[in-house]
């Protein structure tokens, strides 16, 4: 269970990115975080593993307070928090296998990682995960040879090999085409289900979020303005989060498209399998 209480972040430039955000994510829940660009979504998830230092507030993951830790304790805590990025953030010049194994860096010493001497257990797990995300045949390819969807799958495997208690996912589909986006979202949600893993997913695509997540939180100018089921996300709420727009027209179009595309991607995924 992740509990965030009274979290605020003010950048050195004076921009107030988050104001008094409180949020708790029970085990096994997949939460979609939506909101306009600059609302503080990225800052929020980066405050959890302290890639960004929060100004105020407390973050508690399964009874461990993250915001007061010294650097070596923080390192140990980060091992149990997996992170997935918009631009995949793979080490481009390393192989797929090296990228996946880099998820174990927190558990092995410097020289072991320098000479790529990972424990056999980790290597087996890496093979198993690559098989699970459908990249068993790409093990020795360099990361920069892969397509966007394949790279994101490597990113997912890297996060999962950490054996995390929580996944932080930053715009996983923003750089992908609509079909791949759905496949990636489905994969993330399936894996969370399999492992009873909780996740916070930043996402721009509201329709996509509604399709996959169990709970949606709307962030606007650094404050939570909506927290509820995907079904209760209607035009008035969207206006509250994003501002005035003809939401009915777009969402109706979306619905028609959704039905169509979902069928499509399901079919092709089966074809591929």
């Amino acid at each position: 269970m992740l509990t965030i209480t009274g979290l605020s972040k003010r950048y050195k430039t004076g921009d107030e990115a988050l104001t008094d955000v409180s949020l708790s994510v029970p085990d096994g829940q997949v939460l979609g975080l939506i909101g306009p660009s600059g609302a503080g979504k990225s800052t929020l998830i980066r405050c959890v593993n302290r890639l960004v230092e929060p100004t105020n507030g407390s973050i508690d993951l399964n009874g461990v307070e993250l915001q007061r830790m010294g650097s070596s304790k923080l390192r140990k805590a980060r091992r149990r928090i997996g992170m997935i990025f918009q631009e995949y953030a793979l080490v481009e010049r390393l192989s797929v296998m090296e990228n996946v194994l880099s998820g174990r860096l927190g558990y092995v010493g410097f020289w072991a990682s320098w000479f790529r001497k990972y424990p056999q257990k980790d290597i087996q797990e890496a093979f198993r995960l690559l098989d699970r995300v459908g990249l068993a045949h790409m093990v020795n390819k360099r990361a920069d040879e892969l397509s966007g969807g394949q790279r994101q799958r490597v990113g997912i495997a890297r996060a999962l090999i950490q054996d995390p208690e929580l996944l932080l996912v930053d715009e996983p589909t923003a750089s992908l085409d609509p079909k791949t986006s759905r496949q990636i979202m489905r994969l993330i949600c399936e894996l969370c289900e399999e492992r009873k893993l909780s996740a916070i997913i930043n996402i721009h695509d509201v329709a996509l979020a509604k399709l996959f997540v169990q709970r949606i939180v709307g962030l606007q100018a650094g404050q939570i303005v909506f927290d509820g089921e995907p079904e209760s996300l209607d035009a008035s709420v969207l206006t509250q989060i994003y501002g005035e727009e003809d939401w009915e027209a777009t969402s109706q179009n979306d619905k028609a498209n959704d039905a169509h595309v979902v069928d499509d991607s399901d079919k092709s995924e089966q074809d591929g399998a």
């Binding site: 890639l51 980060r78 410097f110």
Partner: protein, 267 residues
């Protein structure tokens, strides 16, 4: 009718005037400098130049090919000075680059300026001047030449390398940090793979430059083929000078060829 036609000009007339004035000042300075230099030149010698050059060319040809036997050893020395000097400089340049890069330095206010100062100091002094100093300090020979090459190369390599470090993709570093890696591991997984191509390119580029620089170090007594060149020039042994110049030309040609191959292979 014309009043309604929209007029567009690249610059306003004030800007135009200012630019014209700037050009005027530039031309005036150029003419003044030319006259200054011209007044202090013995034009007789300059006009006599082609004749003298032709005379030297006649004396220098054909090159004294048999002299090559005495050049092998200094040529080998020259190669070693360049190679060992480059290697030696990298030992210092790599840590200095990490201390100088904004995103890896431990302290922007204290350590970074010191690292930058070392880089500027090393770069501001030519190898030949380093060699002059070192010949005075540790005596003439290859050692002085090697250290001179190394000292000059530290700044060059560190500067290019720290610029490469500052240009890396921060996402990859962030991703490795998020796994709970140590600082040393963030360096070896997040940063090193990203700067490796730049590092290889900088190394062969500097080695290539150092081959050229080490050929002249002998002029000040710091070993290598330059020593023979100086000796031949002093005794007006033009056929030997011709041969040495040909040998240097071929050596530089080969070094450029090698560095091109290495660069292509690594990147």
């Amino acid at each position: 009718m014309n009043t309604s036609t929209p007029v567009w000009q690249r610059r306003t007339s004030t800007q135009q005037l200012l630019r014209w004035f700037a050009w005027l000042v530039f031309v005036a300075i150029f003419v003044a400098c030319f006259m200054y230099i011209s007044n202090r030149t013995e034009w007789f010698f300059v006009f006599d130049g082609p004749r003298i050059a032709a005379d030297i060319y006649n004396r220098a040809t054909p090159p004294r090919w048999s002299y090559i036997e005495k050049l092998w050893e200094p040529l080998w020395d020259t190669l070693n000075v360049a190679t060992i000097g480059t290697a030696l400089s990298l030992i210092f340049a790599v840590p200095i680059a990490f201390l100088a890069a904004r995103n890896t330095t431990p302290s922007v206010t204290f350590i970074r300026p010191i690292a930058l100062l070392i880089i500027v100091a090393s770069r501001s002094i030519n190898s030949l001047i380093w060699a002059l100093l070192l010949v005075a300090i540790i005596g003439p020979g290859i050692l002085a030449g090697t250290i001179a090459i190394a000292l000059r190369s530290i700044g060059f390599c560190a500067k290019l390398l720290y610029e490469a470090i500052e240009e890396i993709d921060h996402d990859q570093v962030e991703a490795i940090t998020a796994t709970g890696a140590r600082r040393s591991q963030i360096m070896s997984y997040g940063i090193v793979p990203q700067i490796l191509p730049a590092f290889a390119g900088i190394t062969v580029f500097r080695w290539d430059i150092n081959i050229r620089e080490s050929t002249v170090l002998g002029l000040v007594g710091a070993g290598g083929i330059g020593l023979q060149l100086q000796g031949s020039l002093n005794t007006l042994a033009w056929p030997q000078v011709a041969l040495i110049l040909i040998v240097i030309f071929i050596a530089v040609l080969i070094s450029e060829w090698v560095s091109a191959i290495v660069r292509k292979a690594i990147i």
